[in-house]
């Protein structure tokens, strides 16, 4: 009876591991759910970082007015000690999540990247440090085709 129970338990454990494995592989790859989310809230939920608190220690450098929405330079620095990752969301883009970076052993939580913006929008950054989430946002106005706006 005991032997049977042990076997059953072991089988259940193996099954649980097998069920977990593909999830882990996905996490290391590309978070399809987060990138295909159509609202910033859904994207953050898919990334597992809802409920971030505002922080002045996340610096976002971006043009106030971008004449060309196809190339908008965004520079992000986190001064929060132990920052492990940064997610960049363009709130009004059809798919808000633009990028997500994980920083390991010695990498500075800093990144500069050019993004596409469909219209004027807040650019939001969510940082993870010590298991907590922090956020800051900055508005960028986009002048499409240079005809005002």
């Amino acid at each position: 009876m005991d032997a049977f129970r042990r076997l059953t338990l072991r089988a259940a454990g193996l099954l649980a591991l097998a069920a977990l494995a593909p999830v882990r592989a996905l996490a290391a790859g590309w978070n399809k759910d987060a990138f295909q989310s159509k609202t910033p809230a859904d994207a953050l939920k898919a990334l597992g970082r809802s409920g971030a608190s505002d922080s002045a220690e996340i610096l976002i450098e971006a043009p106030q007015i971008a004449e060309n929405g196809a190339v908008v330079p965004i520079e992000v620095t986190s001064r929060i000690p132990g920052t492990k990752s940064l997610a960049v969301l363009i709130e009004k883009n059809p798919f808000p999540l633009a990028a997500q970076f994980d920083f390991m052993q010695g990498a500075v939580p800093y990144v500069k990247v050019n993004v596409k913006m469909g219209e004027s929008s807040d650019v939001r950054v969510v940082a993870e440090a010590g298991g907590r989430f922090y956020t800051a946002a900055r508005e960028v106005k986009v002048t499409i085709g240079g005809c005002g706006g």
């Binding site: 790859g29 590309w30 196809a70 363009i90 059809p94 970076f101 990144v111």
Partner: protein, 104 residues
Amino acid sequence: MAAGPMKMRATLKGDVADVRVLMSHPMETGQRKDGAGKPIPMHFIQNVTVSLNGKPVIEGQISQAVSRNPVFSFRVKGAKAGDKLEVSWLDNKGEQNKTETALA
């Protein structure tokens, strides 16, 4: 436009390596149409990895919202002259490329 070569420049300032990398890639969003009005399929980089001496230090996941021919800047602390820095990418069609440089 097909994916093309990469360019990287890395400069040491103290023990921090300033890395600037350019990737030639169309970064198609799937929302544009060709001359005949047919939608151009999505084609974009999804993963970007920065490694120092073979160890990944920055792992990025990106979307089609990153501009065509992406340019990134990264900073890696604890680097020294002679260290090997590698940046690689992988796109949604399984195409990939990488470039490496020795820090000076």
